[in-house]
């Protein structure tokens, strides 16, 4: 940079000498042909031009050369003192003029530069004001630095926390913004919060200014700007400009961030309200009449007129069973919504595994009426730490499926066993079974095998819900079948805590 200045000055001086030489030729011609006696003023014009266009030093050289030239042309060797005074006066006027011209030029240039910067910043802040997202702001920062400051820029935005995304971001700025190793280290340091900014010189001698986009928080990323070979006094100026620009950007980012969060919260709460209302109304509007239907059916079956007629008793039984089925379907829908909203919050407690099995069987007693149920419960099973209500619901669903997909009169085997570090609650039927393909898909939301859909009704939600409930308790559901029409075994596998309470550790009397 410094070298360039010297070169420019030298070129200016050379040009000034050439100009003075030309002026001398012109003045000589004027003296010769027009007989002008005092042509010194012509040199003044040249000095002025030099001062204006080439700078102070060339103007000085031009002034001295001009004095010499005019002395050679217009003054004879035995000149009067007044003529010498004239010459000195000329020199002074030339110097003052050239100085004035030069400083005027500098002022104008500064003003122009300011104007450019101002209009750049203005455009930048307009861009910021209109930016709908953080991504737009980052693009504006890059644009501004690239076009107005003409610097190479690399932005590292968090949220793109993995390095691959960072690499992608760099690629956006063009291949020439490869960030040197040393700069990369500084970026990591600033990102890690060790400092707010750093200046690093890379292997080629270029200075990189690395700093956070926002002084207040590292959340908005880190920017690295290649300042080139900038001398220390100019660097401060550049820093100031970068600072101004980024503080605007950071303000906008913060505003956007807050606005975004507010938006999200508002949207969430509105959706939530709508859902609550919907669930509330489904739950109430559908279940209240169901409660009446089911209740009324049980009262009817109890009245002597119905109780003494087998056909009527079975009819009221149908009403009851169907109402119960419908109620289960509604419960499934509500549960599915709860799962989608991630509102399953297990209330864990220690529980006797057989209590869960018995409760589920009791709940599905009427459903299992047509089947033989074989119970195989180990005594002295370890207590498990789960939400008993969720696991019971899942198990009841599995029992329900077994009853649904196996012929009336067939045997359903319900077992609870210790298995290594876990506990297995299983339901085995001798029903339609599963193909390999069905085994793989079972438990997916809304999945119903075509064979299943052909024979029985259902939503395909039941096992999906069971899976979610068991999953929320740290367990899993597995399906096993020897093949089509060879029965299905569904197993709920639950972990057993190593510190499960035992009889030996009784808080006894």
């Amino acid at each position: 940079m410094h070298f360039d200045t010297v070169k420019r000055e030298l070129r200016g001086i050379a040009l000034a000498i050439v100009l003075i030489a030309l002026t001398t030729l012109l003045a000589d011609a004027l003296v010769h042909y027009l007989g002008i006696r005092r042509g010194t003023v012509i040199y003044l014009l040249t000095v002025l031009i030099c001062g204006w266009q080439l700078g102070l030093l060339p103007a000085l050289v031009a002034a001295v050369a001009g004095v010499l030239g005019s002395a050679f042309l217009f003054y004879n060797p035995n000149a009067q003192p007044s003529e010498l005074l004239d010459l000195a006066l000329f020199l002074i006027v030339a110097l003052v003029t050239s100085h004035l011209a030069n400083s005027m030029k500098q002022t104008t240039e500064l003003a122009r530069k300011r104007e450019r910067e101002m209009s750049g910043l203005y455009a930048f802040s307009r861009q910021l004001a209109a930016a709908p997202s953080a991504a737009e702001i980052y693009r504006a920062i890059e644009d501004h630095l690239a076009t107005h400051a003409q610097r190479k820029v690399a932005l590292f935005v968090p949220g793109a926390a993995d390095s691959s995304k960072e690499a992608g971001k760099e690629a956006d700025q063009g291949g020439d913004t490869a960030v040197p190793e040393r700069v990369r280290a500084a970026i990591t340091e600033v990102q890690g919060g060790k400092s707010i900014e750093a200046n690093v010189t890379d292997d080629t001698g270029n200075v990189w200014h690395v700093r956070r986009v926002s002084q207040r928080t590292p959340d908005f990323g880190v920017i690295a700007i290649d300042l080139g070979r900038v001398p220390a006094n100019e660097a401060a100026d550049v820093h100031q400009r970068v600072n101004d620009m980024l503080s605007d950007a950071a303000d906008t980012l913060e505003r956007l961030d807050v606005a975004h969060a507010l938006d999200q919260a508002k949207m969430r709460s509105e959706t939530e309200l709508l859902r609550e209302a919907l669930i509330g109304s489904v739950s109430h509007e559908l279940r209240t009449p169901l409660a009446s239907i089911l209740g009324a059916a049980t009262v009817l079956s109890q009245s002597p007129a119905v109780a003494n007629d087998e056909r009527l008793t079975s009819l009221s039984g149908v009403v009851r069973d169907e109402a119960e089925r419908l109620n289960n379907d509604i419960q499934n829908l509500l549960d599915a919504t709860r799962i989608s909203r991630e509102q399953i919050k297990p209330r864990m407690e220690w529980i006797e595994p057989s209590d869960i099995v018995n409760s589920a069987l009791e709940r599905r007693r009427r459903r299992l009426n047509g089947h033989q149920v074989r119970l195989d419960l180990d005594s002295n099973l370890p207590f498990i730490y789960v939400d008993p209500v969720l696991i019971e619901q899942a198990f009841a669903q599995v029992v329900d499926n077994a009853a649904k997909y196996s012929p009336s009169g067939s045997t359903i085997t319900v077992a609870a066993k210790r298995n290594g570090q876990g506990l297995v609650l299983s339901v085995a039927d001798t029903g339609v079974g599963l193909t390999d393909e069905e085994s793989a898909q079972i438990g997916e939301r809304f999945f119903r095998g075509p064979r299943h859909a052909a024979t029985t009704s259902g939503s395909g939600l039941g096992l999906w819900i069971a899976k979610a409930f068991v999953g929320a308790n740290g367990g899993r559901i597995e399906a096993d079948s020897a093949g089509v029409n060879r029965g299905t075994t569904i197993a709920i596998k639950l972990p057993v805590a190593p510190n499960a309470p035992q009889q030996e550790t009784d808080p006894d009397d």
Partner: protein, 238 residues
């Protein structure tokens, strides 16, 4: 019948529910009164003190829990709550606040009547001083602190007996974990449900024919325990 028919107050804002409850309860020999709102209910209770209250939690004018609280401020009337499923915490809270039992909508009439009669019998036991509670083959003499199964004495530890005693006092109705834990082990242990699990397992080994399929000491998941009562000797109810 020589005794006057027991009076039941049904507090529910749904007319269809009230209709089938009225039919079912009248068939069972009750004299039925109805209230649509909490305010109605408070009025009805003061005018004719009922022998039983059936309270639906979803009332238009006040929370069912508030009705329960106001009622319990001056009356010990047996009270059954009609609740919706999947809110165990609420059921527990209502039971702790003095509800005798609950049924979950939708429910069969038989289930409601069994709970109601159990709650009313407790009241009768408390006033008549009848000391023996029977649950299937199990007999608990609360006065003599003597427990037999099929006529044979069962030896229980003091805490096992205390557990059975509390359940017997509420025979047929659910008793919450918290209540049992507080009564047997004291307030600091109301969350130590595993104490109960261990004791109930031991107790079942002593009183149940098959401890893995209990018929006497039943579990209400997420709520507590219930001592099963034999089905009442009246026309079979579905």
């Amino acid at each position: 019948m020589t005794e006057p028919a027991p009076v039941v107050l049904v507090i529910d804002d749904e007319i269809q529910i009230r209709r089938f409850l009225r039919a079912g309860l009248e068939l069972d020999g009750f004299l039925v009164q109805e209230a649509e709102t909490g305010a109605d209910a408070m009025r009805a209770v003061t005018l004719t003190p009922p022998d039983l209250v059936i309270l639906d939690l979803g009332l238009p004018d006040m929370d069912g829990a508030d009705v329960l609280e106001r009622l319990r401020a001056w009356s010990n009337v047996p009270l059954i709550v009609l609740s919706v499923r999947s809110n165990e915490a609420e059921k527990v809270r209502l039971l702790e606040n003095g509800a005798d039992d609950y049924v979950v909508k939708p429910f069969g009439m038989a289930e409601l009547l069994a709970r109601a009669h159990a709650a009313m019998r407790r009241q009768v036991r408390a006033t008549s001083g009848e000391p023996v509670v029977r649950a299937g083959p199990l007999s608990i003499d609360l006065a003599a602190r003597f427990v037999t199964i099929n006529g044979e004495r069962v030896i229980l530890t003091p805490k096992e007996y205390r557990l059975l005693q509390i359940l017997a006092q509420h025979a047929g109705n659910v008793v919450t974990h918290q209540f049992l834990l507080k009564e047997i082990w004291g307030s600091p242990h109301i969350h130590d449900t595993h104490y109960l699990r261990i004791f109930v397992r031991k107790l079942r080994q002593k009183i149940e024919a098959d401890p893995t399929q209990p018929r006497i000491l039943l579990t209400e998941l997420g709520i507590g325990y219930r001592l099963a009562l034999p089905e009442p000797a009246r026309p079979a109810v579905v």
